[in-house]
Amino acid sequence: MADFKSGLRDKDEFSIIDLSGYLDAHTAPELETRFTNLIDKNRFKVVVNLKDLEYISSAGLGVFMAYIETMRENQGDIKLVSLKPSVYSIFDLLGFPLLYDIMKDEEEAINKFKEQGK
């Protein structure tokens, strides 16, 4: 089983979280910490790169749900990019694409942010 890892990069006003491995009930708190830290620093525009994410459980999905409201209330958002098909199918089944911006890559997500900012 691939271990879970999360990394944080800053690109101007945007924060990019890289996730890899398995995001489940055990590893979800790590991602939660990432989000709370970002909120503490008033960084609300978040792109989550799921390029290397192998699996996401309902507890993992719950993390996004817990923080998206705060981001949006502060003129930010959580945008998900570069999903593997298997991971996308999980998001899709749940109806995430109806509520979240799920995009091809980081560039697209940042462009969308810039567009929304106008």
């Binding site: 309902s58 098909p85 199918s89 109806l98």
Partner: protein, 763 residues
């Protein structure tokens, strides 16, 4: 109880009987100047005395008193005895009317007070000897009856032969002398048996010295009063010369005993400190080894460890540093928190604690160059605390003494630290198992709740075969299904999966059941029911939690089904291909996913299929609408399993109408994910007819996410082909067929989520 009382009184009765008997004999042989008369009197007195003594010893055997207690009892008794003598010397003449001699004693007036005095003295003698005997046997396992009993016999013989020292028998008094010498020798031997003083604390030894001096003086005084020529002595002597002598010998024993005790204690005094310390160490270790087996939390344990460490080592301050706890000090003793932190930090800079294998000593001189603490310490001693090659932390001991610990102390501290490590390990394991048990109990409750929430029996619907399978995971997974009787004989059905596990999931399930039950009767279509449910769940659900659900209403008469899906796994409709209405499934793609479809197609394969509901097959069979899997065409480019079975199905029944599996996946996101109008706006309802011979299968992700040993998912595709090739008749058969396949697939891999299957077959 009763028996005990009888024993107690037996002693009393024996005493009274002995006295009466003696009085009677005394009266009988009044003159007492014949040899025979004196002998009978004295021997019978002696026999009665020993009878009383053995009674007394037996009666007090069970009483547990420390030696000091015995000594104090002796002191009081001696005091009473001397007081009695002084009182008699002062007031005795008022009681004794006649001149003291043998003849005078015949008058009953004098006889009574004399008898009383003798009785008291008899009791005192018995008491003395009882206590001496107990002291003799104190802390002795091996009985040396002979030594003590021999001494008693010789004491008796000395008493008896003392008659020979006066009057006409004077020539034979060497018998008396011989017996006296032997008695004194035996007394000295027996008095030396006072090993118990070694184990006394220094304080007690000092007490002992004082008591000994007082007792030596008292006994010497007492012995002397028995020898003077007072009326008291006269009375006793004329009553029984032998008894007086015997009593005097007992007093001598007392004096010898205390002289020996005094000197022995004096010689033991210099070593008392060392003995004190060793005793403390041993009892500390013993106490600690007992503690190991008791329930203790880590904090309590730390306190105990450091306190005992101070006891054992004689250090001035102590605390524990546990690893993995940012070296936070625990159980700080004898020093302030700040000082302990400063010193800990200093030591941490000096050495890496995790590499300490054996105790190390540090001079704190350097520390005090730059830092201060309330009190100054000279040495710090670090002892590793490890068990089974696992390091728990270090024990820190601070010493104000400029001399560091000696080797014995070091060894002892090391041994103690090993004990401590075992205790810490035990407490850790215990905590783990308590936590585990708590979780298990919680899961039990959750499981019971889930059982009660799920319907007890399935609805009986004429013309339909309804089957449900529920296999709970060890951790309650939050699966829920239910049926509702609606107006116009319609039936509502729901299958749902609450995110999260255990008791919190079970609670949400219970809420969901209540919400759905009430809205099912209030609202007429499934969409309205779920929309209403979603808005109510806002109050209940944690932001992280959501529920996937599929709600449908079936009209049994027509087979009309209207279905909504809130983020749940698709329903599988096994339907006749000729009855297919392509427009139904074509419309349901959301715009967003079309772009994704294109992007993802290059990957091909199974995963995409579930994304796009059969999108992967679009290339192979353009005419088939998405969401439909055709029996005959499935062969192309797919896994061999499906291939074979599909072909077999065709061979077996070439003439029967071709059946296909339609994935019913109307748009809609999970309950509790969003509470704005978006839920209602996006939720789509799908309507279709369940015709005779057709089946509708619903499931939770416990089915398609079931893993095998290679960590592969069971997948919706496999379920679809299984359903397509199923030729059995009843829903029950289909259910067990699916469960069997799931079990085979999983192999040894344990099930980690609830599995729920809902099958509606129209007959």
């Amino acid at each position: 109880m009763n028996h005990h009382h009888i024993l107690k009184y037996r002693f009393l009765f024996a005493g009274i009987f002995a006295l009466i008997a003696l009085a009677f004999l005394r009266l009988l042989f009044v003159t007492g100047d014949t040899t025979g008369g004196v002998l009978i009197l004295e021997i019978s007195s002696a026999l009665f005395f020993f009878f009383l003594l053995s009674e007394s010893i037996n009666q007090t055997k069970a009483v547990k008193v420390e030696p000091i207690g015995y000594l104090l009892a002796l002191l009081i008794t001696t005091f009473i005895a001397i007081s009695l003598k002084l009182l008699f010397d002062t007031f005795g003449k008022h009681f004794i009317v006649s001149k003291i001699n043998y003849e005078a004693l015949t008058s009953t007036v004098d006889f009574l007070p004399v008898l009383v005095i003798n009785a008291v003295l008899l009791a005192i003698s018995v008491f003395y000897l009882t206590i001496f005997r107990h002291l003799f046997y104190f802390r002795r396992t091996k009985a040396k009856n002979l030594d003590f009993n021999a001494m008693l016999i010789f004491m008796g013989l000395t008493g008896l032969t003392s008659i020979l020292t006066e009057g006409k028998y004077k020539d034979y008094q060497y018998f008396y002398m011989a017996f006296l010498i032997v008695t004194i020798l035996l007394m000295i031997i027996n008095c030396a048996r006072i090993g118990w003083i070694t184990f006394l604390e220094k304080r007690q030894k000092l007490q002992l010295l004082v008591i000994s001096v007082v007792m030596i003086v008292l006994f010497a005084l007492y012995q002397n009063t028995l020898l003077d020529d007072s009326s008291y002595q006269q009375v006793l002597k004329h009553y029984s010369k032998a008894f007086l002598e015997f009593h005097w010998i007992i007093a001598m024993y007392g004096m010898i005993f205390f002289i020996i005790l005094f000197f022995t204690t004096l010689f033991h005094l210099p070593t008392a400190d060392v003995i004190d310390k060793r005793t403390k160490e041993i009892s500390s270790l013993h106490y600690f080894s007992e503690l190991i087996n008791r329930v203790l939390d880590t904090e309590e344990l730390s306190e105990t460890i450091t306190e005992l460490a101070l006891n054992i080592s004689g250090a001035n301050a102590s605390w524990l540093l546990f690893f993995g706890n940012e070296n936070k000090a625990a159980g700080i003793k004898g020093v302030g928190y700040l000082a302990s932190e400063k010193i800990s930090n200093y030591l941490h800079r000096k050495t890496d604690f995790t590499t300490i294998k054996s105790p190390v000593s540090f001079d704190l001189k350097e520390f005090y160059h730059s830092e201060t603490t309330d009190e100054k310490y000279d040495h710090a001693y670090l002892v590793p605390v490890s068990s089974y090659s696992r390091m728990h932390g270090v024990l820190v001991l601070l010493n104000k003494n400029s001399v560091a610990f000696d080797q014995t102390e070091k060894n002892l501290i090391k041994t103690f630290a090993d004990y401590a490590a075992v205790a810490i390990e035990n407490s850790r394991l215990l905590n783990e198992s308590i936590e585990k048990e708590r979780l298990e109990r919680e899961l039990d409750v959750a499981r019971q709740m889930q059982r009660k929430i799920l319907p007890e029996k399935l609805p009986e619907l004429p013309g339909y075969d309804i089957e449900a399978v529920f296999i709970p995971a060890f951790e309650v997974g939050g699966d829920y299904y239910d049926f509702f009787r609606l107006a116009d004989n319609k039936v509502g059905f729901v299958i749902a999966d609450v995110s999260g596990k255990g008791i919190s999931a079970a609670f949400v399930m219970a809420e969901l059941k209540g919400v759905l039950e009430s809205f099912s009767t209030m609202k007429s279509n499934p969409k309205e029911i779920l929309v209403a449910a979603n808005s109510v769940l806002k109050k209940i659900l944690d932001r992280r939690m959501f529920i996937t659900a599929m709600y449908g209403i079936l009209n049994p008469k027509t087979g009309d089904v209207s279905l909504v899906r809130a983020g749940h796994c698709p329903a599988l409709h096994k339907t006749f291909s000729d009855g297919k209405r392509p427009d139904e499934s074509e419309e349901k793609r959301p715009d967003d996913s079309d772009a994704i479809d294109k992007k993802l197609n290059r990957n091909g394969g199974f995963e995409i299929e579930s994304v796009t509901s059969g999108g992967g097959e679009v290339g192979a069979n353009k005419s088939a609408s998405s969401g439909v899997e055709r029996g005959p065409v499935i062969s192309d480019g797919d896994e061999k399993g499906t291939n074979e079975s599909a072909a077999a199905g065709e061979e077996m029944n070439p003439k029967t109408p071709v059946m296909v599996i339609e994935e019913k996946q109307p748009v809609g996101f999970g309950l509790g994910m969003n509470f704005t109008g978006k839920f209602e706006k996006t939720l789509q309802e799908e309507n279709f007819v369940l015709k005779r011979g057709e089946q509708l299968v619903m499931f939770t992700d416990g089915v398609n996410e079931m893993k095998n040993e290679q960590m592969e998912d069971y997948g919706i595709k496999r379920l679809k082909s299984l359903l397509l090739n199923f030729t059995g008749d009843t829903g029950n058969e289909l259910a067990s067929h699916i469960v069997k396949d799931l079990t085979q697939f999983a192999g040894t891999k344990p099930q980690h989520d609830d599995i729920t299957l809902l099958i509606i077959k129209r007959i």
